[in-house]
């Protein structure tokens, strides 16, 4: 039976999360934390971990709660509504899942409980100067030498790694005809010798700090390999796919907030003796925002449901959700800004944080131009 409502338990999660962000992360704090040097609040992170959010989709056996992706997304939507920045997607979803799906028993035991508690923060280092999210972009090399691997190369546009303890570095251990083969995942300490991390977003109007990681002959042990040598992409690819609609849920929350801001403004602001909400040009903008909201919402939740229920067609659904959410978020905040006139570009107004985030997440885990290509391949089976 079709039922598009959240379950009772999910409604409770949603309310809890909403109350949390309303109480703990009001607009002034959203501005302060997002504008801070690290773009991160350790105190809030602690509280989120205490609520069990970081380990939500990690297995119970390793300190998680084994919840569903829809559960997790319900929280992300509220975080996105509040524009709350945290390494939850990097650590709890991308890296946590990579380890739980590809790691050895020993790695899981050693890493997952502290990840779930928020005590250990991980970030995924995948993208490189030749930016993209496919295996063909992975050029950073890892060469076996004296029983170790030596990593050389550069990762760029990496979020959260500046506050992480470790990263999962996606490296090339061999090069064949199929770019999916020959990729290996390495767990690397941030303090490893030869590894340097620099903020790329200095001076920019950025919604999420981006870093460059330079690997200059960084040596790691065999025990740092997650999954099998040369078979890393097979672990990472489904993880990226599952994490994507979770990110989309964050963007859905952002669009929801933009809509709320727009509606509240058009019903109070006056021009030419009327509230601006009475102008059809303005009404059309709000309708566009709502259309962006619902398009993103339903494509995202269907993708999440398919993941939870292991339905066929996940790739197409995820691709669809990310295209619609990326484009919809940017459009919604731009229209909200325009509805506000000059007030819509006042950086003391919390909308500014959403404008920046819509840009930062536009490309994260795949931008529309690349994803539309993937959609075409899926449609034409080529």
């Amino acid at each position: 039976m079709v039922d598009l409502a959240l379950s009772e338990a999910q409604e409770i999660i949603k309310r809890t999360a909403h109350d949390f962000v309303e109480r703990e992360f009001p607009a002034p704090l959203a501005i302060e934390v997002n504008e801070s040097e690290k773009g991160f609040s350790p105190e809030l992170w602690r509280k989120m971990a205490d609520l069990g959010w970081v380990g939500m989709i990690l297995p119970e056996a390793y300190g998680g709660t084994g919840s569903s992706f829809v559960d997790m997304a319900v929280i992300f939507q509220e975080l996105g509504w509040a524009a709350l920045p945290s390494p939850l997607l990097s650590s709890g979803v991308l890296c946590g899942l990579t380890i739980s799906e590809g790691g050895t028993e020993q790695q899981k035991k050693r890493l997952l409980p502290s990840i779930a508690k928020g005590q250990r923060i991980l970030a995924l280092a995948l993208t490189e100067p030749d930016y993209g999210w496919g295996p063909e972009t992975v050029k950073l090399t890892a060469k076996a030498k004296n029983g170790k691997f030596v990593l050389n190369g550069t990762k760029r546009y990496i979020p959260d790694v500046h506050i992480a303890d470790q990263c999962i570095c996606v490296a090339r251990t061999s090069q064949g005809a199929d770019p999916q083969e020959g990729i290996t995942l390495f767990l690397v300490d941030k303090s490893a010798q030869g590894l340097s991390c620099r903020d790329m977003s200095a001076g920019a109007q950025i919604g999420e700090k981006l870093n460059e990681l330079a690997f200059d002959s960084v040596e790691v042990d065999h025990s740092a390999v997650i999954g099998e040598v040369d078979k890393g992409w097979q672990v990472l690819s489904p993880v990226l796919e599952k994490a994507t609609p979770v990110l989309c849920a964050y963007m859905v929350g952002g669009i929801q907030r933009a809509w709320e801001m727009a509606v509240s403004y058009i019903n109070t602001r006056e021009a030419f003796g009327r509230t601006i909400g009475s102008f059809e040009r303005i009404q059309d903008h709000v309708i566009e925002i709502v259309n962006a909201l619902d398009s993103a919402r339903w494509t995202t939740y269907e993708a999440l449901w398919k993941i939870d229920e292991q339905k066929p067609g996940i790739t197409k659904s995820v691709t669809l959700a990310k295209i619609v959410s990326s484009e919809g978020y940017r459009k919604a905040v731009d229209l909200t800004s325009r509805i506000h006139g000059a007030a819509g570009v006042d950086t003391r107004f919390v909308l500014y944080q959403y404008i920046k985030k819509s840009r930062s997440f536009y490309h994260y885990l795949g931008g529309p131009m690349a994803l539309r290509k993937r959609m075409a391949h899926l449609l034409f089976n080529d």
Binding site: A204, D334, G341, A342, V345, D346, R359, Y362, G367
Partner: protein, 405 residues
């Protein structure tokens, strides 16, 4: 028809002189960034721009078509077009070298010319046209922007002074350098809408004026200030047109330019588009040149189309100004609107093609010296500057839709 600006022998000679003068007086061996926020107050670049402005102003070239007696250049439209075109080729002109606020001349200058007393014209026009003074535009208020006839700031006559009370927002630049505020205020609260507004040129130093910064999305020329007027006593000499025009200013607030500035910007290729075209011709992604990617091609075709429409609208405005043609009436607003649409299209396309690199400003990684990042946020910031797109459409409707004709 002729879509080309061609020099007669006489004009060709004039162009040579202009070029030589610019080479001699404004030599430049550094780049001026597109983003005004990258030119710090009182830095060498800032000083250079000021100097360039003063030099152009002294020659009358900031207001080339204006009468010489008021500080203009006394040039013909064709000569003026040459001056502007040559200036537009110089890198420093991108920064609006004509003025930190060209509208000081095209807007305030025209308004003073239209309703100022002869004494005020002699006093204010020469320093304005020579670029010696900077005025900020104090129109918008917290409660009204598009609907300027609804301003609440009052200027109540008390003998030969007007007592100003009220608040203006979003005016000025990051350079704290205004000499005067072009201020509109209600002089007769009892009079009907549109018949109650006076225009002032208020010296910023008068007692009772204070201001705070209003931070805006960076990358717009006019990231501004909020100004408070608390019982500011403004002598009548600063009321444009004097007592007789105290309630009479509305008719000139949207005046069509009397001395048009021929804007030759349309004759210069958009630098960002050139950069991106060049970049995709040279850059490979996944082993393929970006310029061979059909999606990249389509996106750049779209920006090219918008830029070309923008160029032709600009050319048309120039032609209207040069020939004094009266067309339907919506054209200037349409050109403004197209400008806003064009830059927004560029920002989206460039971000689609270039990825997160389009968001980076750090000199080490930024594309095109940070101009791409600038280009990305400028359309958001500028969407409401001057006039919003919605209100542009409202104005166009009157002519374009002929409702009630």
């Amino acid at each position: 028809m002729d879509f080309e600006f061609r020099d007669t022998p006489k004009l060709a000679k004039f162009r040579k002189e202009v070029r030589a003068w610019l080479d001699l007086n404004m030599p430049m061996d550094f780049e001026i960034p597109d983003n005004p926020h990258d030119v710090l107050p009182h830095s060498a670049k800032y000083e250079f721009i000021l100097k360039a402005r003063h030099a152009l102003g002294a020659k009358g070239w900031l207001a080339p078509t204006w009468p010489k007696e008021y500080g203009g250049g006394g040039l013909s439209m064709e000569e003026a077009a040459i001056v502007e075109g040559e200036v537009a080729q110089r890198p420093w002109s991108r920064f609006g070298v004509g003025d930190f606020f060209p509208s000081t001349i095209t807007q305030f200058g025209v308004q003073i010319y239209a309703i100022g007393t002869e004494e005020q014209k002699k006093r204010f026009l020469p320093p304005i046209l020579k670029g010696e003074i900077i005025r900020w535009n104090g129109s918008t208020e917290p409660d009204c922007g598009s609907d300027l006839a609804a301003v609440k700031t009052t200027a109540i006559r008390d003998g030969d002074e007007y007592v100003v009370n009220g608040t203006k927002v979003w005016l000025g630049t990051q350079y704290d350098n205004a000499d005067y505020i072009q201020l509109i205020a209600v002089t007769d609260p009892k009079a009907a809408r549109h018949h109650n507004i006076g225009l002032f040129c208020v010296p910023v130093g008068l007692p009772g004026i204070s201001k705070v910064r209003l931070p805006m999305i960076r990358n717009c020329h006019t990231s501004g200030w909020q100004m408070f007027f608390d019982n500011v006593r403004v002598p009548v000499e600063y009321l444009i047109g004097g007592h007789e025009n105290a309630t009479n200013a509305w008719r000139v607030l949207s005046t069509a330019t009397r001395f048009p500035q021929p804007n030759m910007g349309w004759s210069v290729r958009d630098r960002n588009q050139e950069f991106v075209l060049d970049y995709v011709r040279k850059t490979k992604r996944d082993g393929q040149l970006l310029s061979q990617d059909p999606d990249v091609r389509e996106a750049l075709v779209e920006t090219e189309i918008q830029l070309e429409i923008n160029r032709l609208f600009g050319m048309r405005q120039n032609w209207i100004a040069m020939t004094g043609k009266r067309l339907v009436g919506y054209e200037a607003t349409q050109a403004t609107l197209q400008g806003k649409v064009t830059t927004a299209t560029q920002a989206e396309a460039y971000a689609d093609i270039l990825g997160p690199a389009a968001l980076i400003k750090d000199p080490e990684w930024a594309l095109f010296d940070g101009n791409i990042e600038y280009k990305h946020f400028a359309p958001v910031a500028m969407a409401s500057a001057g006039i919003t797109q919605e209100v542009s459409k409202m104005i166009m409707t009157r002519w374009a839709c002929r409702v009630g004709d």
